[in-house]
Symmetry: C2
Subunit: 219 residues, 2 copies
DNA sequence: CGAACAATGTGCACAGATTCACAAGCTGAC
DNA sequence: GTCAGCTTGTGAATCTGTGCACATTGTTCG
């Protein structure tokens, strides 16, 4: 399930805050979902909650980590050292969460050998060596859209089996390769869609939002 | 539906490439989804496809734009001018797609008045003025996790009704506010989950991927 | 020890999304 | 003008995911 990472993050927070046990209801509240859903999800792990008490936070963290394959690091290679690639490479949050940056490559010779976030940008040609040396299986594409397919092909050829794509294009990859796309413009368009409906819902006055009668989350 | 933006992007590409008509099957192929799904989605727009021919690309683009509320610009305000905030502000792709950056604010006085991507960083206090002056209804949160809830509260108070959140925390907002979260670590964890399953699927040898026997997309 | 209590795990019903299959409709060629 | 060939639009079957409700089980306190 795609909700496990969310639980994991919340549980890690709670553990850090010294919480030892949590009920499905408590976790559901924090995650903004239904309590029954939480129990179903956790029971899928063959999980061990204690009736009358709840779940032991530490053990749950361990279980989810194990299920997600986070019991060891997954080095990541970034293709494209532009605006976004640099922000990603310079961001410490990935290493903390088990995704160290094994390398970042760029086709532009002016960018090669510059430093971003502690890593030196390497030429695109060295991608296979980086992948092989660090046993990388996850690649991140942060190139312009026109170059994204080429980047994907190179990653696959180098041996990467999972790709996270930030370029707003649909990539074509061999079967067996897992690919996920993060398109920020799409996210904004979904928001504008909601704004649109909000505006055209009778009355049409903007910014007239019923405030504070209960805090909820609109998924 | 959350697929409309994807169709829109593909159709815009096709239009730019000079394609005048497209069949549901063609579009489905490009979007990596089922053809019947495409037809259902488009028929929801009360759309006009021509039997025997397909859909007129330009008109479809117009229809989807209209449905998504993209017939006019939606100015966006960014809270937090760090790594990510700067990358977002400096990225031209948003303006091109109808989401100009109305302003970017930061709590750090050292960052205020610096230039990022053509915009000058403004102090956090000026958020209400920016929102009011440009009639902003979409806010983007690019602050550290600990400050994200505060940023959300300020955005809501200033009159923003939709929020895109990059901080890895679950935000609590009044009902009526639309919120979407983009958590890159979650995306990576989902990839590692697939890697995990790949590795533990009998055999366990990494990087042994059946190459090129048909190019598909693993959603 | 036993009873009240608390919270899990799951059967079941329901709602929404997905896919299939096919009738209806348009186009173009002969 | 008619017919063959495509392609849409949609009814129906199916699948997936969600949420309720409750029996079950462990805990705590008298
Ligand atoms: N910057 C953002 O905030 C943002 C937001 C949403 C989407 N995106 C998308 O992310 C991608 C990168 O954006 P950006 O702002 O960093 O662009 P950018 O132009 O700043 O950086 C692109 C980098 O990729 C390099 N490059 C070009 N072709 C390459 C190739 N074949 N192999 C390797 N490297 C290559 C370029 O030299 C450049 O350094 C784009 O597709 C963009 O649409 C960016
Ligand atoms: N950089 C990335 O690639 C990346 C990737 C994934 C997630 N994120 C998330 O995005 C967020 C920002 O990341 P970053 O790398 O840009 O961090 P950063 O530390 O570089 O920047 C954060 C900025 O927010 C400002 N800030 C702090 N408190 C504020 C407040 N209350 N109001 C307004 N501004 C405030 C800080 O002054 C700073 O300039 C973080 O939550 C991070 O987890 C970043």
């Amino acid at each position: 399930m795609a909700r496990l990472p969310v639980y994991l993050q919340i549980l890690a927070d709670q553990a850090a805050a010294g919480v030892a046990n949590i009920s499905s209801e408590g976790l559901a509240e924090l995650a903004g979902v239904n309590a029954a859903k939480v129990r179903k999800d956790l029971s899928y792990l063959g999980s061990y909650g204690t009736r009358g008490v709840g779940y032991e936070v530490d053990y749950l963290v361990y279980q989810i980590r194990r299920e997600l394959g986070l019991d060891h690091d997954w080095p990541v290679v970034i293709v494209g050292a532009g605006n976004l690639g640099q922000a990603l490479a310079g961001y410490g949050g990935f290493t903390d969460r088990g995704f160290p940056v094994a390398g970042i490559v760029d086709i532009d010779h002016d960018k090669v050998d510059t430093l971003v976030g502690g890593a030196r940008v390497r030429p695109l040609d060295e991608l296979p060596q980086i992948v092989a040396a660090k046993n990388v299986s996850i690649g991140v594409i942060a190139t312009p859209p026109a170059a994204a397919q080429d980047a994907a092909d190179r990653l696959v050829k180098a041996g990467v089996t999972s790709i996270l794509n930030f370029a707003p294009v649909v990539l074509s990859v061999p079967v067996g390769i897992t690919i996920r796309k993060v398109d920020l413009a799409v996210e904004l368009q979904i928001l504008s869609y909601h704004e649109q409906r909000r505006a055209s819902a009778q009355g049409g006055q903007l910014h007239a939002v019923p405030n504070e009668p209960g805090r909820g989350v609109t998924a």
